[in-house]
């Protein structure tokens, strides 16, 4: 590859060659899998060729790589630099401003054309680019004028305040002005995000703090969900009684599954926990007498507000007690606050535990298990406590999931669920509570947003079904974010305890333990 500093025409040759090579490889990779498609017919499988699709994909690879080669990777002035400078504190030079200006002008043009011809996809592209640049500029301005504000704290407090006020405010605004907001959808999505935030925080105890890689976290989620669902449907117990029972059951399972894996390290531990997760799912699927097998458990009751149910009729319902008009959205708002409270409890407990001897033992074990043991820390108890406390939060989240859905089946507890939770923890920056929350919003929110992509459908034509591409994009995002920022979204970690002032330490100084 050409060195930086060579002229454009000198770089063009090697760049073309490299892109051609990439295109050939892409052709080989996709020739059979994309270029041909197996179709069911009367005589068995037959093939149908799709040369246009293959040509488009190979073309994208060729031109994409050519552009990357010329302007991003090996240019004497990689055009990613000005965008990076938007988000750090380096000074802009003239070229940066020119590039940013041109990009902003282009984005505005695309946006204007998009509005003029009514093409949703180009509007989306224009808005995204402008929003990204605007965000960078706002950040730079704020940092320029107030360099020493405690941004982390402001962000946290702001986030919590928003989370607490958002549903009530939205509800009141909607009732007062009839804005026609899709409240139901807003709240359902926020509840989903918060469930994942809670799961992420729970798993963060095991992975982020104790350094034990758990790929079967969904097992505890399932144990919590099934404990509550079965107790509720068989014995008629309510959510609030079952919640602690579900948490305790999950914690117990954490210990039971934790015992055999005490001696395992690193990746071995990961694969055994994965196997446990699968075992739990298979048992739930096949133990039909108790779990009703693949048909799942339905008719799970909703939580009550101190004994007042959210039903339209009855003697003492929430709405009649407070003299409100019945509205199904009240129940959803209540669910939102329940999961918000559960998530905040998870967070607070984690933050407190980090300062207690047990939390410090976890972090010591993550950094170096042998050193930890030679200091007299009982690694057995340390590991089991991490497993069981993490599992307990998983179980609590599970019983919330069961009560929200009203129906659970083993389908909801597949490995992919564990992978999503783990991805949230690692992409968020392990051990960082804020990072986990951001990652949950980005991954789950982005993932859900793809459900509603009529724009893309108008762009790619009728045959394009976005739902099919969701998981594909999710996987691509997982790989992409990891390669781009291996240390996670929040790249620094505040030490749990420090002499004098607590300064954030960069992640690359913190080695993840081998345990």
């Amino acid at each position: 590859m050409a060195e930086p500093g060579t002229s454009f025409s000198q770089r063009l040759g090697p760049a073309l060659l490299d892109s051609l090579l990439a295109a050939i490889i892409a052709f080989a990779l996709f020739s059979l899998l994309l270029g041909l498609r197996t179709v069911d017919s009367v005589t068995g499988l037959t093939l149908e060729s799709r040369p246009t699709l293959l040509a488009i994909v190979v073309g994208i690879v060729f031109f994409g790589r050519l552009l990357l080669n010329l302007f991003v990777w090996h240019g004497d002035y990689p055009i990613t630099t000005p965008f990076a400078k938007l988000f750090n504190s380096e000074k802009f030079d003239r070229l940066d401003i020119r590039v940013l200006g041109i990009v902003a002008a282009l984005a505005t043009l695309i946006l204007a054309i998009g509005i003029a011809i009514g093409n949703a996809a180009s509007q989306l592209v224009g808005i995204c680019v402008l929003a990204f640049m605007g965000l960078g500029l706002v950040r730079r301005t704020v940092v320029h004028f107030f360099p020493n504000l405690p941004y982390g704290r402001i962000f946290t407090v702001g986030g919590i305040a928003f989370a607490v006020l958002f549903p009530i405010t939205a509800y009141i605004l909607e009732k007062a002005f009839h804005l026609g907001l899709p409240l139901r959808y807003f709240f359902d999505l926020s509840i989903l995000v918060l469930t994942y935030v809670m799961l992420g925080w729970g798993l963060n105890i095991v992975v982020g703090l104790a350094g034990l890689l758990d790929l079967g976290y969904v097992a505890f989620y399932a144990v919590g969900a099934y404990t509550f669902a079965l107790l509720a449907t068989h014995f008629g117990l309510g959510f609030w009684i079952c919640l602690p029972i579900a948490g305790a059951a999950a914690a117990l399972w954490g210990i039971v599954l934790g015992f055999p894996v005490l001696r395992l390290r690193g990746d071995y531990l990961a694969i055994v926990t994965l196997a446990f997760g699968e075992i739990v799912r298979i048992v739930l699927l096949n133990w039909t007498d108790v779990t009703n097998g693949p048909n799942g458990v339905s008719g799970i009751p909703k939580p009550t507000f101190f004994g007042l149910p959210f039903t339209p009729t009855g003697d003492a319902t929430f709405s009649s007690f407070f003299g409100l008009k019945y509205d199904p959205i009240q129940g959803i708002i209540f669910l939102y606050y329940v999961i918000l409270a559960l998530a905040m409890i998870t967070n607070l407990v984690t933050l407190k535990l980090r300062r207690l001897p047990i939390g410090r033992a976890w972090e010591a074990m993550r950094e170096d298990q042998i050193a930890c043991r030679s200091l007299g820390i009982n690694t057995t108890i340390t590991k089991l406590s991490a497993f069981s406390i993490g599992a307990m939060f998983g179980g609590l989240a599970g019983s919330f999931f069961a009560t929200r859905q009203g129906f659970i089946s083993p389908e909801s507890f597949t490995f992919i669920e564990s992978a999503i939770i783990l991805a949230i923890v690692v992409l968020g920056g392990m051990g960082s509570q804020l990072g986990v929350a951001i990652a949950a919003i980005v991954m789950v929110g982005g993932f859900e947003a793809l459900r509603h992509t009529e724009h893309l459908q108008s762009f790619f034509g009728e045959g394009f079904d976005p739902a099919l591409y969701r998981m594909l994009l999710f996987g691509v995002a997982m790989v992409g974010i990891m390669v781009w920022r291996p240390r996670g979204i929040v790249g620094t970690r505040t030490p749990s305890i420090a002499l004098e002032k607590a300064r954030p330490i960069p992640k690359d100084l913190v080695e993840e333990g081998s345990a």
Partner: protein, 304 residues
């Protein structure tokens, strides 16, 4: 007795397929110490490439089955090897110096990508293929029950044995094998003594993927149906096999594959078929608890 013998034969055939996939896991783990989580899906991609190549070869009018299978085998090995190489290049190489969890996460991501790519490109329905290799021998008859050894099973075992031997020779006798073993012991030292570490690691992925393609083809021919999800369970079981035999050890991977195949077959035959995966996974936990380094693995020295 006849039933037992029949299950033994079935188990060995299944175990050979697991063994072939397990080699990919064991080599990669041995050399860079990561679980190539996407390897099971590489196997699945290999099976799909084999299926499409087979249909293509048939539609081109080559009806001589051995020739067609040979062409399919070579095409599938070459293209799947390329997939293995690409996955390493895109998802693992940039994270070579990163912390240990990072490549595992990209591996899980890659596994999701491959599964869904195949689902999008080829559809979610199962793909049936009519039996290609038919016939067999009756070894032994006991009343009503006959013990059969099908040609397919012979093909599986023979292919596996041949490939294992070739592989064993590559690892022990060639320069590539030497650099592989060098990288396994100490990557930095290997680089200092002139081994191209990146190239060696890439080749490891290529070889592992090629074997997975063979496994994919054999699976396709043996079971006659594939879908985009076969890679996940087969991958975990093959990894179990690799761990069982002692990770990093080639004979261990083969032995582990056979043991897992036999456990699964016998469990399905004598107990409940629903819990066969539970049996295989529990085996993994039990083995790791009592032999943390597997049956043929070297004990790992713990250093501070």
């Amino acid at each position: 007795m006849a039933y037992f013998l029949q299950q033994l034969i079935n188990g060995i055939a299944l175990g050979s397929i697991y063994g072939l996939i397990a080699i990919g896991y064991t080599m990669v783990y041995g050399i860079i110490g990561m679980i190539n989580f996407a390897h099971g899906d590489i196997f699945m991609v290999g099976a799909f490439i084999a299926l499409i190549a087979f249909l293509l070869v048939m539609s081109l009018g080559i009806t001589m089955v051995p020739l067609a299978l040979l062409i399919v085998l070579l095409v599938a090995m070459a293209l799947t090897a390329m997939w293995g190489w690409t996955v390493e290049r895109i998802a693992y190489r940039p994270l070579r110096e990163s912390f240990r969890l990072a490549p595992l996460i990209t591996a899980i991501g890659m596994s999701i990508v491959l599964q869904n790519f195949i689902q999008v490109a080829q559809g979610a329905r199962v793909k049936p293929l009519q039996p290609v290799v038919t016939g067999g021998y009756t070894l032994y008859e006991e009343g009503e029950f006959a013990v059969n050894l099908s040609n397919m099973q012979i093909l599986i075992v023979v292919t596996t044995l041949v490939l294992m031997t070739v592989f064993w020779l590559i690892i022990t006798r060639t320069a590539l094998g030497r650099s592989q073993r060098a990288c396994e012991q100490d990557r930095l030292m290997a680089a200092l003594s002139g081994v191209n570490v990146d190239r060696t690691i890439s080749l490891t992925f290529v070889l592992g993927a090629a074997l997975a393609a063979v496994a994919g083809l054999l699976y396709l021919l043996y079971y006659g149906v594939i879908d985009f999800y076969i890679g996940f369970v087969a991958g975990i079981k093959a990894f179990t096999a690799a761990v069982f035999g002692g990770i990093g050890s080639l004979p261990g991977a083969m032995l582990g594959g056979l043991v897992i195949g036999l456990i699964e077959t016998f469990w399905s035959a004598y107990f409940t078929i629903e819990y066969k995966d539970v049996a295989a996974f529990s085996m993994l936990a039990i083995v790791l608890i009592f032999f943390p380094t597997g049956l043929l693995g070297r004990p790992e020295v713990e250093k501070v």
